[in-house]
């Protein structure tokens, strides 16, 4: 069974990578507690899965990392820096892959990548090089002039991935990257994520146990804002019986 809510003492900070550390992290929305005194350490240069049912607190946690929300209590740091205290420092090392629906359908792929590169401080030749590299890396060259809204969901996800890597961030947050994709596109996205293992810190939010098992080295499972299990993926998601029990506790059915 999973290693239960361990509270590592080591600081999630490294010279070569970016770690995330939450201590007593709490976020309330009125009377509802979305995250309840969460203690979690995401070590540098690891692909880390954040799992849990809808409403478990995964999105709230991501929003606290990106600085979109402020904690009600406790603290969260990215590479030792609080997103609330120094949002610029956190944003510089952060790439964010959102669900496909959260793009600009009225923009063309190349224009969108230029825009996103610009918002990340890239300019001139650096921006053009980064955009071309992104188009090539995610095989978007053929659709570079097309409107994002006219692309298939799989290609929209590639666009979403491409924008996150433009500034070569050491930390990438990936939210439900394969939801609603066909098997071919799903395989492509998983391949990309597989290539990132050990290269940089990846926080992967997913409902898919098989995906978490194949892509991540550590996992944390949230339920009703609380950490119910964390540890090496192979241990937490070891066998079917444990998974079922674990996800039943979170109100989610494994798939």
């Amino acid at each position: 069974m999973a290693e239960q809510a361990v509270q590592p003492r080591e600081e999630a900070r490294s010279e070569s990578g970016v770690g995330i550390r939450a201590r007593g992290l709490t976020r309330r929305f009125g009377h509802r507690i979305a995250l309840d005194r969460l203690d979690l350490t995401i070590p540098p240069n690891q692909t880390f899965a954040l799992m849990g049912a809808n409403g478990a607190g995964k999105t709230t946690f991501i929003r606290l990392v990106t600085g979109y929300l402020l904690p009600s209590a406790g603290e969260i740091t990215v590479n030792g820096v609080s997103p609330a205290a120094d949002p610029g420092a956190v944003k510089r090392c952060l790439g964010f892959v959102m669900e496909t629906s959260r793009l600009y359908p009225e923009l063309r792929v190349r224009g969108f990548l230029r825009f996103m590169g610009g918002t990340r401080g890239l300019a001139g030749a650096d921006l053009e090089v980064a955009v071309e590299a992104g188009l090539e890396r995610f095989q978007l060259g053929d659709v570079a002039k097309r409107l994002i809204g006219n692309l298939s969901k799989g290609f929209q996800q590639r666009v979403s991935l491409a924008q996150a890597f433009l500034h070569d961030p050491p930390l990438v947050i990936v939210d439900e990257p394969t939801g609603g994709l066909d098997p071919v596109q799903r395989g492509y996205v998983q391949e990309v994520l597989q290539d990132l293992r050990g290269e940089r810190t990846v926080l992967l939010c997913t409902h898919d146990i098989a995906e978490a098992r194949s892509l991540t080295s550590r996992v944390a499972v949230l339920a009703s804002g609380r950490l119910v299990a964390t540890g090496p993926t192979d241990d937490v998601l070891a066998d079917d019986a444990d998974q079922t029990a674990l996800f039943r506790a979170t109100g989610e059915h494994p798939r």
Partner: protein
């Protein structure tokens, strides 16, 4: 590239990538042209009636002073245009922030080097530029015709400035409303409601004291705008419109903070 500059470029692309911008520009230009030519037709009819009934022709002194191009055509057209903008501009501003929130792209923007302040400033700048374009498009008919009627270019410049500042103030109100909701409909309706309330407080005079009425009048868009329409450019009126724009920006900026800490 400067992140704000990147946002401004993207906002222009988004604005002109949607039919709303073109529809609004066309609608305002069309309404202005229709109103203008209708008043011009009326003016010509009045002149003809005077000329034919007094038997003195168009050179006669019998045509009263108040039958002139300015009072009969230009001023009423500018009045109507001012009110048309109250109806049209919230249609442009409704999507600016609300669409980002409903699509969830505001989260993506926040994860970049853009700060809430630069996002607000970038979006306001683009909307203001669109307002200037809208004013130019709608002003061109009456301005071209009226210069033939002998109204000075300085006077026209004052009217254009007033019209633009008036548009910017309404846009600021609309943008502030858009920043607090994810529904474009709610943004448009609340923008209209606030702009119409601020347009003229004449309706409130019956319910409040004289002093309060004076204070309310000093806050009304109509009076400030009317001053420009008469050719008077005063620093107080410019400050008023700039103040409305700054308050709109501050309120829109506040919406980001509210979302970060709120429920």
């Amino acid at each position: 590239m400067n992140p704000t500059r990147a946002l401004v470029r993207k906002e222009f692309a988004s604005l002109f990538g949607s039919p709303t911008a073109y529809l609004t520009l066309t609608m305002v230009a069309l309404v202005t042209a229709l109103i203008f030519f209708d008043h011009l037709r009326l003016y010509n009819q009045v002149l003809f009636v005077y000329a034919s009934t007094t038997m003195g022709g168009f050179d006669t002194d019998s045509i009263p002073d108040y039958i002139n191009l300015w009072d009969t055509v230009f001023f009423p057209v500018m009045e109507t245009l001012g009110l048309t903008l109250v109806g049209a501009i919230p249609l442009v501003t409704m999507r600016v922030f609300a669409e980002e929130r409903s699509r969830g792209t505001d989260e993506l923007l926040i994860s970049t080097h853009l700060t809430p302040t630069t996002i607000v400033v970038g979006k306001f700048i683009v909307t203001f530029a669109f307002i200037v374009l809208m004013m130019a498009v709608s002003f061109i008919y009456p301005a071209t015709a009226i210069t033939e009627g002998g109204i000075g270019i300085q006077h026209l410049a004052a009217v254009f400035l007033g019209l633009t500042l008036h548009g910017i103030a309404i846009a600021s109100i609309g943008l502030a409303c858009s920043a607090f909701t994810r529904s474009q409909l709610v943004a448009a309706v609340s923008g209209w409601a606030l702009a119409f309330v601020l347009w003229d407080f004449g309706w409130a005079h019956a319910f409040v004291s004289e002093q309060t009425a004076a204070v309310l009048d000093s806050l009304a868009l109509h009076q400030r705008y009317g001053s420009f329409a008469e050719g008077v450019v005063s620093l107080a009126n410019i400050t008023y419109f700039a103040g409305v724009a700054l308050v709109g920006m501050a309120v829109a900026r506040f919406s980001f903070d509210l979302r970060r800490v709120g429920s």
